[in-house]
Every structure is written in C-alpha cells, then in structure tokens.
C-alpha cells in the first residue's frame, strides 16, 4: 500500500499531539493542584511555634489565643502579649522564646506566614460558623497533631459550597443541628 499523507497524519502526528496535550494537562493539573486548593502548604514560621505542644500536649483551648473567632469575622493570630502571658516566665532560655521576647521588647509585630487564606473578595465569617457549633478541626484539620502548621483541607469555593450544600456529609455528628449554609453570592462576596 502506498503511504499517503493522511495515513501519516493519522498514524503518527495525531496520536503524538494528543499524547502531548494529555500529558501536559495532567502534569499541570497535578503540579498546580496545591496552588488551586492550597493543601499541603507548610512554610517556615519566624518563630517555631508548635501547635502539637501547646494545643495538643498542654490542651490549651483554641480560643484562648484565637480570641475573636466567636465574636467577629476574623479568627486572627494572637498578639505577642498573649504569648508573653506565659512566656515571660516559662522556658525563657529556649532560643525560640528568646526570639519571641526580642520581638515583644522591640515593639515589632511578628511576621507570621499565613497558611489559610481565602481571597480578598470573599469575606469569610468565622463567628457564624463557630457559634453554630462547627469545630475548628473541620476545616483546619487536626491542628493538635501538627508541629508545623499546614493546610490540610482544600479552600476552594467548591469545597466551601460542598459543605454548605450537604453539611451532614462533612460533619456527620452535626446531623439535625445544622441547617444548610447560604448559597447566594452575597453571603461571602460583597
């Protein structure tokens, strides 16, 4: 049989192009997945604060430090004076505590690396969630086990909406106590 151009195109060029497209798509999808939903991000913090020690071993409640989570939209990182409540006397010679105390004395705020971030145009409200009985671990994962805090759940709009639409799936223990969350745009986007 004579080899026509069409034959050549179909047998070689077409599958090759399709293969390139598929692999590049797959690579980009998986390589860029952390960018899309943020899972697994665990940067180095200026002061090596361990949640496992404080929230896990010493069983300090989340809201002892993250105080405004029940009252306002923001959960916030505690200010340095909350740390100094204990660390003015506790373990003052540990190098991390020395760093902390220096920040405090100089009056400089500690530049923590932000882990959990919802884009600026979405106005997430912590108080509405916490007041209705949703535990911190539902979205932030088991922070009590984390030495270095990292993000474990996806923070895309899709995952927020999944929970809003079917809260029982994510939190089976809350069945009967929770209504569905709002689905309309203004609830988060202003």
């Amino acid at each position: 049989m004579k080899k026509t151009v069409l034959d050549y195109a179909l047998k070689v060029k077409l599958p090759f192009t399709v293969f390139i497209i598929l692999t590049s798509f797959a690579i980009t999808y998986f390589v860029a997945k952390p960018e899309r939903d943020g899972v697994g991000y665990a940067p180095e913090q200026p002061v090596k604060f361990s949640h496992r020690l404080h929230a896990g071993d010493m069983a300090i409640d989340c809201q002892y430090c993250h105080t405004s989570v029940e009252k306002s939209r923001h959960a916030t990182i505690p200010s340095a004076d909350v740390c100094m409540n204990c660390h003015a006397v506790a373990k003052t010679d540990s190098p991390e505590i020395v760093k902390l105390t220096q920040y405090y004395k100089e009056g400089k705020p500690i530049p923590w690396k932000r882990i959990h971030r919802v884009p600026e145009y979405a106005y997430f409200n912590h108080a509405s969630h916490v007041v209705n009985g949703i535990d911190c671990a539902n979205c932030h994962g088991d922070v009590r086990e984390m030495d270095i805090i990292s993000q474990v759940h996806s923070f895309t709009m899709g995952s927020c909406l999944d929970c809003h639409r079917e809260p029982q799936k994510r939190m089976p223990q809350m069945t009967g106590k929770l209504n569905n969350g709002p689905e309309n745009c203004n609830a988060c986007h202003r």
């Binding site: 050549y8 070689v12 060029k13 090759f16 590049s24 690579i27 390589v31 705020p109 530049p111």
Partner: protein, 68 residues
C-alpha cells in the same frame, strides 16, 4: 518516520523559530513551577510604607462601660 516528523520541510525558518520559542518558554514556565526558584519579592511588611496608626491612649470608647 520520526525523522520525517521533525523535518516538516515547508515551514519557514522564522516561523519555526517563533513557535519553538513559545514552546521552550512554556516548558520553562512548567519547570519553574516545580523547581524552587524565586524572582520577585512578594508583599512583605518591610516593603510597604507604614504610616503610624495608633489609637489615642486617652480616647474614651463609647462601647466600654465604666471608666475607659
């Protein structure tokens, strides 16, 4: 046959260069997304101007009860 694939003889030199440059830069971008190479400083606090904002220490807040 593979050789023939890469030897598509009808394209002009400049056009080929053009498409190749796009392809190479795309591959480069892909590579940069995997390898940890940093070019630009993100919005760190040291880079932003910070005008002094301080609540006046003697101001009496309307929300607080008792003496401020």
């Amino acid at each position: 046959m593979i050789v023939k694939f890469f030897k598509s003889g009808n394209m002009s030199n400049t056009r080929r260069k053009f498409f190749n440059s796009i392809g190479v830069s795309a591959l480069g971008v892909l590579a940069l997304n995997v390898l940890p190479v940093k070019f630009i400083k993100n919005g760190k606090t040291e880079n932003k101007a910070n005008p002094k904002v301080m609540i006046h220490p003697l101001a009496v807040n309307r929300n607080l009860k008792g003496d401020g």
